[in-house]
Symmetry: C2
Subunit: 178 residues, 2 copies
C-alpha cells in the first residue's frame, strides 16, 4: 500500500511516501514544504496546496494519512496546523484519494509499541524499520514517514476487520443455515 | 467596495455580500453553505470550497473578509472552524482576491461602536444599516454580513491611511524643500 503521510504545519509541512504492508515498509521519499512566515496565510496555504499536488502527481499514493489535529495541540500554532491539515484533506479529496487521520499516540504505538514513546525513540524505530543509516530529516519529514508507516500497518489491519464485519453483516443467515 | 464576508464553520459557513463605503452599506446577498456532519471532514471541506467558488463567481467581490480564528475560540470546534477559514483563504488567494481577517471584537466595534456588544445588538444594527425589515437569517449569515460591512468600512479607511503613509515615505524631501 503506497501511503503519503502528512505532518501538517504552515512553516514546515512534512511529507513522506512509504510503500508498506503490516510489519514491513520501504521509504519512497521524504521531505518538507516550507513557507516563509513573511507571506500572508492565504499565500502560504496556496504554496502548501501546490506542494501536495506535486507530491501526489509524482507518487500517486492510494491513501493520504494526516496527523489528526485536536484541541490538545499547541494553542499557539493550532490554527495554522489545522489549516494546513485542511488543505491536505481538500487536495486529497479533490483527487478522489482516501484520507485517514491518526493521532500522535496512534503513530507512536504503531511504530514503537508505546503511545508515550518520545521523538527520538520514534525516529530510531523509523530508521530501523526502513533500514536507513539515519532517520529522515528534518524532524517533520520523519514524522510524516512515521504517519505513513503507521497507516500502512494499521490501515491494512483495519480494512481487513471492516471487510470481515461487512461480510458478517451481509450474510448473517450463514450461522443458522449452513 | 464589494465585499464577501465569511463566517467560517464546518456545519454552517455563513456568507454575506455587501456593497459598502464608510457609513453606508447595501446588502447584495446572504446565506450559508451547510454540510452534514455525516460526511467526513475532507468531503465537507470540498463542499465548502464549491460553495465559496460559486458565490465568488456569481458576485465577483473585490475582497474576501473572513473572521479571524484564534486560540480563544471554542476549543470544541476550533479545528473545523480554522479549516473552513483556511479553505476560504485558499479559494480567494487562488483567484487573486484580497483576503482580510477581522476579529469578532473588531466587527462588533465597527457595527455598534462597542467591541463587547452582544449578538442581538449587532443583528439589530445590521438590520438598521442595511434598512431591512429583519436581520439576515440564519445567525451565521448575519455574522458574515456584519463582517463584510466591517471590512468595507474599516478597509477603506485603512487603505487611505496606508496610501497616506506610503506617499509620506515616497517623498520625505518635500518637507525640507518646498
Amino acid at each position: 500500500m503506497l501511503v503519503l503521510g502528512v505532518d501538517p504545519g504552515l512553516t514546515r509541512c512534512g511529507l513522506g511516501v512509504v510503500d508498506g504492508t503490516p510489519g514491513r515498509a520501504r521509504l519512497v521519499d521524504a521531505g518538507v514544504v516550507r513557507t516563509p512566515s513573511t507571506l500572508d496565510t492565504p499565500e502560504r496555504l496556496l504554496a502548501i496546496e501546490a506542494g501536495l499536488e506535486a507530491w501526489i502527481a509524482a507518487y500517486t499514493p492510494e491513501v493520504v494519512a494526516i496527523e489528526r489535529v485536536f484541541a490538545q495541540h499547541n494553542l499557539m500554532t493550532i490554527v495554522g496546523t489545522a489549516q494546513a491539515a485542511g488543505v491536505a484533506m481538500l487536495v486529497a479529496a479533490r483527487q478522489g484519494l482516501r484520507v485517514a487521520q491518526h493521532t500522535p499516540s496512534e503513530v507512536k504505538a504503531a511504530i514503537t509499541g508505546s503511545g508515550r514513546a518520545d521523538k527520538e525513540q520514534v525516529a530510531e524505530m523509523v530508521k530501523r524499520i526502513l533500514q536507513l543509516d539515519a532517520p529522515p530529516k528534518p524532524a517533520d519529514a520523519a514524522d510524516a514517514v512515521a504517519l505513513a508507516i503507521c497507516h500502512s500497518w494499521r490501515g491494512v489491519a483495519q480494512a481487513r476487520r471492516e471487510a470481515a464485519v461487512a461480510a458478517e453483516k451481509a450474510a448473517p443467515q450463514r450461522k443458522v443455515r449452513p
